[in-house]
């Protein structure tokens, strides 16, 4: 019997091209302020925020199997912390990042309680947490209840500088989070994550520490969404709790991930792009736009749960990012 | 006309072909013992006949009608009853509730609650106990009783001795004796070859999804069946069509 030689590889030619292109794209985007006009910069900043939201919600639901209807808790918290930090005298842009970190820290003790809940109970439980945090934030006199306040510290910069700085911060955060997630997925923890995604019980039976893995994802997602909230605050300047703690944000995240592709990196990014485009074209349609979003989420979850990317990657057997292992015989 | 006609039936279990082109018939009043090693396809075959498992090819005719596409609850109403492997009782409900639920099949007949209790007197003191608290023998009796309450024309029994001690198995079969003597049509999966050949009129032996041997119980020797069971030597080809 001849011995079969085999090798294990992680990169395929296609994934090399994809990753290379992505890095090139990010570098190109970095010089955006030199070539793009103000409107485009604003739009791209918003897109970066959407990408963060989509990728984070996907990490939580698609990889850790945790569907949360309460991620707006962290979105609002991130913005709130940013307001508080700026008010305390910290420089604006660093306070955005720190706000994200603080949100992540809050998520740690929260995870010990919430992660014990299952499925639907976890989903709505997180919504309850969001509601409670909303109410508590309203109590802060700085926020003035639903009237809200503004990130006044931004006035230190003129509009043009502000725009460029927030653009770079958002781009940096997005790229940073994508990198963290990418590295995580390629690591041993990443194998655990994908195992849990595919079959939690089986994963536990081969020694995966399911709870710890989920906790890491939960906290990372909180950090990411908190960052997104702080970034969004920087673009819109005003902080009205009702806007940031609205369940609408989770609705957007769900739409992006379901339509793009649940459980895949590429899918979440695709979903963010699609959502961005749809919002640009149909956002003005008011309620029908929202009906469309909800309806799309409903239809995709029933008929195409793996989303568009899931369909594409199955149909054409493509995987752009090297997060798996390939056995080469 | 046969009561049950199975014609070139194919059933998959996931990607595995558990039942391959199985063809046989059952006449009214016959008692068929379905034997074979674990994984031979016996349970899948019974479930497919009862409609609990969708077949992928072939045909099943019952009492003259084609039931291949019929869902399980309609086949139950038509007169096929399955006592599933593992009993599958409603553990949170009482014995009485388990039995009376079967009236949903809508087939009045000789099997009433009283008749079932006559046949399985060990259930009488346990009527109000939750099915999950019953002993193995009591659970088996309840499961068989539940199937009987649908007043079936064809009774399928899947491994009634599974998980039961030898004494209890004796008792269950003693309880079934009257049923068998009354001329009920039965297909029974049984691991114990000696017992199977004793109660059955006909024996079908399956191997890897196909029928390896078929014949009247009194015509076949234990050795012949054992050979077919393990696939040793050359197994007798299956007899096609009605016998």
């Amino acid at each position: 019997m001849t011995a079969t030689t085999y090798g294990i590889e992680r990169w395929t030619p296609l994934s090399r091209i994809s990753v290379g292109t992505s890095m090139g794209l990010i570098l190109a985007l970095a010089v955006g302020p030199m070539v793009l006009n103000a409107n485009s910069l604003d739009k791209l900043t918003t897109l970066f925020i959407y990408v963060i939201l989509a990728v984070m919600w996907n990490a939580l639901a698609g990889y850790a199997g945790l569907v949360s209807i309460g991620q707006q808790a962290f979105f609002g918290l991130g913005a709130y912390f940013a307001v508080r930090l700026a008010d305390a005298g910290l420089s604006v842009y660093p306070s955005l990042i720190l706000a994200g970190v603080l949100t992540g820290l809050v998520a740690i003790p929260l995870s010990y309680v919430m992660l014990r809940l299952k499925d639907g109970e976890f989903a709505i439980g997180m919504w309850v947490v969001a509601e409670l945090l909303h109410l508590l934030v309203n109590l802060d006199t700085l926020v003035q209840g639903e009237t809200g306040t503004s990130l006044i510290a931004l006035n230190a910069y003129d509009a043009a500088t502000r725009r460029v700085l927030i653009y770079w911060t958002a781009l940096g955060c997005m790229a940073g989070l994508l990198l963290i997630l990418f590295t995580l997925l390629r690591s041993r923890l990443g194998a655990s994550i994908q195992a849990i995604r595919d079959n939690e019980e089986a994963a536990a039976s081969v020694g995966v520490d399911v709870q710890r893995t989920k906790r890491v994802i939960f906290v990372l997602a909180a950090f990411g969404v908190g960052l997104a909230g702080a970034l969004y605050l920087a673009t819109s300047v005003t902080f009205q709790p009702k806007t940031y703690f609205s369940v609408q944000w989770t609705a957007y995240m769900i739409f992006m991930v379901l339509v793009g592709g649940l459980g895949t990196f590429e899918g979440a990014i695709l979903g963010a792009l699609i959502f961005f485009a749809i919002e640009a074209w149909f956002g003005a349609a008011g309620v029908w736009y929202l009906v469309g979003l909800g309806g799309a989420a409903l239809l995709f979850s029933l008929f195409l749960p793996r989303g568009l990317w899931g369909w594409i990657s199955r149909r054409f057997d493509i995987s752009l990012l090297p997060v798996g292992y390939r056995l080469k015989l | 006309m046969s009561l049950l006609d199975v014609n070139k039936l194919d059933v998959r279990h996931g990607l595995l072909k558990a039942v391959r082109e199985v063809t046989f018939s059952v006449e009214k009043g016959e008692r068929i013992a379905l034997v074979g090693a674990n994984g031979a396809g016996k349970t899948t075959l019974l479930r497919a006949i009862a409609g609990a498992h969708q077949s992928t090819g072939g045909q099943i005719r019952f009492a003259g009608s084609d039931v291949t596409a019929m869902p399980s609850y309609q086949r139950s109403k038509a007169g096929i009853a399955l006592v599933p492997e593992g009993r599958k009782l409603f553990t949170r409900m009482t014995v009485t509730e388990n039995l009376q639920l079967a009236r949903a099949a809508g087939r009045p007949g000789a099997w009433t609650l009283e008749a079932v209790l006559e046949a399985f007197p060990n259930l009488k003191p346990r009527l109000h106990a939750k099915a999950g608290t019953l002993s193995g023998g009591e659970q088996q009796a309840t499961a068989i009783g539940r199937a009987l309450m649908t007043n079936p024309d064809l009774l399928l029994l899947d491994e009634v001795s599974l998980g039961l001690s030898p004494l209890v198995v004796e008792r269950v079969y003693a309880q079934l004796e009257n049923l068998m003597a009354s001329g009920a049509t039965i297909v029974l999966v049984e691991q114990d070859l000696k017992r199977a050949m004793r109660v059955a009129t006909r024996v079908i032996c399956m191997l890897e999804g196909r029928i390896a041997l078929e014949g009247r119980a009194k015509d076949l020797s234990r050795d012949q069946v054992t050979e077919a069971y393990f696939g040793l030597g050359r197994a007798k080809p299956a007899e096609a069509g009605a016998s």
């Binding site: 569907v67 109970e121 919504w127 799309a296 | 409609g51 609990a52 509730e97 099949a105």
Partner: protein
């Protein structure tokens, strides 16, 4: 005496919460699905009653004669078109699909009725503010008492239905083992659709009582879902009666919270809910498994 009064009001409020929670609880124990569109459907019922009252002058209680069959039909369709398929898709799908549905319902309501808050109080005469005087200078609202009594009656009725009727037993059996019920002639799909229809009828009733005691707007569904969920989870253990207990605990917590702080009503409710979840998870994993807690009758 003030505190006693607050607690009493809280208990009566709990009657409403039990009412809105019982459909959610029932659906979960039968189909193991938490329907995130639950609250929005209650609001839909309230709006339907509103239209009947405003445009056709039909008293809301009488309007139920029209709205409840509509809700039953909606429940049937919901089960067959959405929930049945969702249940096959794994654990994530039911949450996602029902959430999408909730968004669709909320925004269609907004499209139809606009942003204004509405209420059924103008159409029920003095029922919404009449009260009975009790010794000690305490007043209890007639509507609140009627709501509480209705909740008890409904829960009791459902309990009786599940334990004593053939359909109720079929529902329980199907909940436990949908494959095996087919073997004894029960059509699992029809049974589940009927259960969903029943759940929606309770939702319709809850919507009516919500409209009669308070106001609502197209986006109020989320809030109602959360209250229903909190009441159901707090009550958790065993039978539908747990839902009544949960509702009362929630109502009392909120009422006492309102007395303590102007914003305390909602905060107290959510805080007590989370506290109970925390305590239950860490101190009594053997006695209170939240999943098993949604048992069906004792």
């Amino acid at each position: 005496m003030i505190w006693f009064n607050q607690m009493l009001q809280g208990v009566l409020l709990g009657g409403y919460y039990a009412l809105i929670a019982c459909g959610l609880s029932f659906m979960f124990s039968v189909m193991r699905i938490i329907n995130l569109a639950h609250g929005s459907l209650a609001i839909l019922a309230a709006f339907l009653l509103f239209t009947l009252a405003k445009t056709f002058g039909i008293h809301p209680i009488l309007g139920l004669a029209i709205v409840l069959p509509v809700m039953a039909l909606l429940g049937w369709l919901l089960q067959r078109a959405v929930l049945e398929r969702s249940a096959r898709g794994g654990q994530l799908v039911p949450v996602l699909s029902t959430f999408g549905l909730a968004i669709v319902i909320d925004n269609l309501l907004f499209q139809a009725y606009g942003a204004d808050t509405r209420s059924l109080t103008p159409y029920v005469g003095s029922l919404s503010y009449d009260s009975w005087g009790l010794p000690g200078g305490i007043f209890v609202g007639k509507l609140a008492v009627i709501t509480f009594v209705t909740a008890v009656a409904l829960l009791g009725g459902l309990q009786l239905f599940l334990s004593s009727t053939r359909l109720g037993q079929a529902i329980r059996a199907t909940a436990e083992d949908p494959d095996t019920v087919g073997l004894i002639g029960i059509d699992a799909r029809t049974v589940n659709a009927t259960a969903a229809a029943i759940a929606m009828v309770t939702v319709g009733i809850a919507g009516a009582f919500l409209g009669m005691r308070a106001s609502f707007n197209p986006y109020a569904g989320g809030q109602q879902l959360i209250f229903a969920f909190e009441a159901a989870i707090i009550g958790g253990a065993g039978s539908l009666w747990g839902t009544l207990i949960g509702g009362v605990v929630l109502g009392v917590a909120q009422s006492i919270g309102a007395k303590i702080h102007s914003q305390g009503f909602l905060i107290a409710g959510h805080a007590v809910f989370l506290a109970i979840v925390f305590v239950r998870l860490f101190l009594g994993p053997q006695t209170y498994r939240i999943r098993a807690a949604f048992g069906m009758g004792k």
